[in-house]
Assembly symmetry: C2
Homo-oligomer: 231 residues x 2
Amino acid sequence: MNSNIRVVGFDADDTLWDNEIFYKETEQEFCRIMIPFMNTEETSKELFKTEVQNMGLYGYGIKAFSLSLIETAIRISSSEIPASTISKIIELGKAMLRKPVNLINGIEDVLKILQGKYKLIIVTKGDLLDQEKKLVKSGLSGYFHHIEIMSDKKEDNYKSLLNHLDIEASQFIMVGNSLKSDILPVLGLGGYGIYVPSDTTWLYEQIENENIESEKFVKVKSIRDIIEILH
Amino acid sequence: MNSNIRVVGFDADDTLWDNEIFYKETEQEFCRIMIPFMNTEETSKELFKTEVQNMGLYGYGIKAFSLSLIETAIRISSSEIPASTISKIIELGKAMLRKPVNLINGIEDVLKILQGKYKLIIVTKGDLLDQEKKLVKSGLSGYFHHIEIMSDKKEDNYKSLLNHLDIEASQFIMVGNSLKSDILPVLGLGGYGIYVPSDTTWLYEQIENENIESEKFVKVKSIRDIIEILH
């Protein structure tokens, strides 16, 4: 790509390690619990509605998700859900926070090869404490110059990051599984993006038009493919 | 104090703006709601127990507090609490996230005087999104070089901060209302601390021995008093 690139930003969830699968599994379990009140498909829709409504107030992460699960359960049961079931929902959230970190296949090889050549950073959103703990559990911290945890991944957030790194957008490339959060805002600022789709993507991160025409953009199948591009 | 000081770190909650008072008010309202199940004093104790138990998993902030309120309500009611009451508790948490920011009296005068003389930063813990929003609402962002939101305020967290700022501990002074979180870890690293006690301090931040003997430490009555020390 561009030989001026100095910093490679990696999204964390579903780029370095599994994440969305745990949300999906928890959602399935939640839908199962709610069957006495509503069918699975409708419950999923109601949950998503709650999450979107709460986004501005709660932001991203498992605690926000847990609170939205409880709120949805109460609403769709017309307050008939027993407190003991809400207890179970709280436990579902806690179980997510305790999950082990499963690395994406090949990521450590990629980081080993790139580490001396670029400044590598993690650029992620979500709960501060949870993301820090996942980084520790992942064993990958040594590869990264630092971890940047943002409240959101919009152009303004990336602009602050570039200021902070004291680099131009054209010296920055972002690697991630969300076009909406990892790629488009960076391209918008004049930076580069490598899109590595994951098997499961949260509805909230999906965009309608996946066709991006830019010489600063490339889509690859596996994280290993970025070596060839950046090497 | 020391003429080598280059960076002044300000704690945010109850140093720049009111915070603990909102937790206390919410706790009182929660205790009132729980009266059918338990007296106020015992409810407060049970809530604190839950918060401490969840600290490692949830960390600080209003979402963590909301989840602990719900968990406590279910436990002390032996799962008898109706879902409609849990709804009210969720709303208490949301109301906290929507609170306006009340600046601590005198803080803006202090920042105006210090701004050209030192690099001023905010060093805080809690929810990322919530703290960023409070900074915007406060109108104080212009005074600060950046905001550092930490998952906790222990020596290791401050060590990373100093590395990041590329300064020695002896060039750093921290201003805050918690001896445990703002002062002791910084003194432990060889930095300076100014303790500005607030009217209400969360039990979790309280320490038994408030007598600190150090020439790098000073306790003042009001935030305005730090001008004389740093000017």
